[in-house]
């Protein structure tokens, strides 16, 4: 564990000494719980419809595929027409696009970002690298199957998929959400131990709490 994450005494500017325990002070450690939808079906359907028509993407690009997301904001493809918008902070985002190969170092950040998003949240795996490792299948520091580490709702295959493929992917994701099947967050909470074990298997310098939001 890094020294700055250790429990230690700190001297404040006014001369007061106090104890700092970064892992406890900066994170909330409560594990995620399975959150049921609204009791009345029609309300949940309305929410699901709204969720599908207002997809806010977390602006986090991982592999080469990130370059394919930018054209979606330009006049040529203009994803805003379909209710897709970008948010710069995980708190407000609903959709996390893992855009290609994910090195172990980035995986750590991806997990933290994913856990900070509010449920219900969705994950799209973009490109063959997220499905089976793609052309990085024998690389020593990328993960091979994204689904082992984060609950993926939808894959968009290709190396690399064109922006049109992404737009088609969004339409498919909308269908999944509207059918009430976009329950990745609950799946993550229900199988929390399994996901954590997988994550810890590849991330060797695990210096954060098991759940951080």
């Amino acid at each position: 564990m890094k020294p700055e994450l250790m429990k230690r005494m700190v001297k404040g500017p006014d001369g007061l000494e106090f104890e700092v325990e970064p892992l406890r002070d900066y994170y909330c450690e409560a594990a995620p719980t399975v959150m049921p939808g609204a009791y009345i079906k029609i309300v949940e359907d309305l929410f699901n419809w709204a969720r599908s028509e207002s997809i806010w993407i977390l602006g986090f690009g991982t592999g080469c595929g990130a370059i394919e997301m930018r054209p979606l904001m330009t006049p040529r493809f203009d994803a805003y027409r379909y209710g897709v918008q970008w948010r710069p902070t995980p708190r407000q985002a609903n959709l996390f696009i893992i855009s290609g190969y994910l090195s172990v170092k980035t995986l750590k950040r991806a997990i933290r970002s994913y856990e900070q998003m509010q449920s219900p949240k969705y994950v799209i795996g973009l490109g063959s690298c997220t499905i089976n490792g793609g052309m990085y299948w024998d690389s020593y520091n990328t993960i091979k199957r994204l689904d082992d580490y984060l609950p993926v709702d939808l894959y968009i295959a290709g190396c690399m998929p064109r922006p049109e493929a992404l737009l088609a992917g969004f339409e498919d994701l909308k269908k999944i959400i509207r059918a009430g099947k976009g329950e990745g967050a609950n799946q993550y909470a229900a199988n929390f131990d399994w996901y954590k074990a997988n994550q810890k298997k590849v991330i060797h310098d695990w210096d954060m709490p098991d759940y951080n939001w």
């Binding site: 309305l46 929410f47 969720r51 207002s54 209710g83 710069p88 902070t89 509010q118 449920s119």
Partner: protein
């Protein structure tokens, strides 16, 4: 003092109308800005969907009491501003809770939301939020200055602090509007208007590219939805003041919609043409260009 209880449902009706108008108007303005960039932009009803979605998020976490109160303060700033100025002049139904001297209260409400936001965002503990808030407060303070000067100038001109009386003095032909009777004050106020609408060139407070996204970084789910509600109401409420003080107010709803939209369009128009200012640049800009005009408008009277 007797209070006319019928005012309450009428005021709520105003709120409802303004809320829906605000949601559609912000989307429309965004669409216009997108059109300038040759995009189609969001559908006009997108804001409603976003709002439903954010209220429908299942989880939300808090960072403390002030974190709760931030959006609440902000919303009450917007609603309060709206409720204490008459929306329609001469209408029994839509003059809301206006009273003599409400101008001062309105000025206070304009600032109230920003302060609430500063407290709430400060408690969220995110460094980007703190940077955003300090930028926001600096800029809004600089932008408020010319507006306050303009308001004093107008109050001196009409010798009253009641918005209703100021509107009354401007009736009878558009040449009676303050734009034509006191153009300097209106110029100062319209420059200040740019600074408070969070559109370019004065949107460094939100600056999505460098301090994502400023004060509301940590806000999500229903907190964010509350703030979105306010984003629909507050600009309209603020424009209503401008309309009443400088552009002769409105007597019927279509006139109200048209005037509010045109005033809003002014900030959008400037926004799509000019690139973003840094904070110190925008403060300097307000102090050099807007404040002297405001001072001049008082001196000339």
């Amino acid at each position: 003092m007797d209070f006319d209880w019928m005012k309450v449902p009428y005021a709520l009706l105003t709120l409802f109308i303004v809320f829906n108008f605000g949601l559609l108007q912000t989307a429309l303005i965004q669409k216009i800005a997108a059109r300038v960039g040759r995009r189609h932009g969001i559908p006009v009803w997108q804001n409603y969907i976003d709002l439903i979605k954010n209220y429908g998020q299942r989880s939300s976490i808090t960072h403390g009491v002030m974190f709760y109160l931030g959006p609440v303060f902000r919303l009450s700033g917007g609603v309060g501003l709206l409720l204490f100025v008459p929306s329609l002049y001469g209408s029994e139904m839509f003059s809301n809770f206006s009273f003599a001297g409400d101008l001062i209260l309105a000025l206070y409400f304009v600032f109230f939301g920003t302060l609430g936001m500063a407290l709430g965002a400060g408690e969220s503990g995110h460094p980007h939020a703190a940077i955003g808030v300090s930028r926001g407060l600096a800029q809004v303070t600089a932008a408020e200055l010319p507006f306050a000067l303009a308001v004093f100038s107008v109050a001196l001109q009409y010798q009253t602090l009641s918005v209703t009386e100021i509107v009354a003095a401007q009736q009878g032909g558009f040449l009676n509007w303050t734009v034509f009777t006191n153009p300097l004050a209106v110029t100062a106020a319209m420059l200040s208007f740019l600074g408070s609408m969070m559109r370019p060139p004065f949107d460094v407070v939100l600056a999505p590219q460098e301090i994502p996204i400023g004060p509301p970084t940590e806000y999500h789910s229903s907190y964010l939805a509350l703030m979105q509600t306010n984003r629909a109401i507050f600009p309209v409420a603020k424009i209503v003041i401008y309309m009443n003080l400088f552009f002769g107010g409105a007597t019927i709803w279509p006139e109200f919609f048209l005037k509010v939209f045109c005033i809003y369009l002014w900030s959008a128009f400037v926004g799509v043409v000019f690139p973003r200012f840094r904070v110190e640049q925008s403060i300097r800009w307000f102090l050099i260009w807007a404040v002297p005009i405001g001072v001049l408008s008082i001196l000339i009277l």
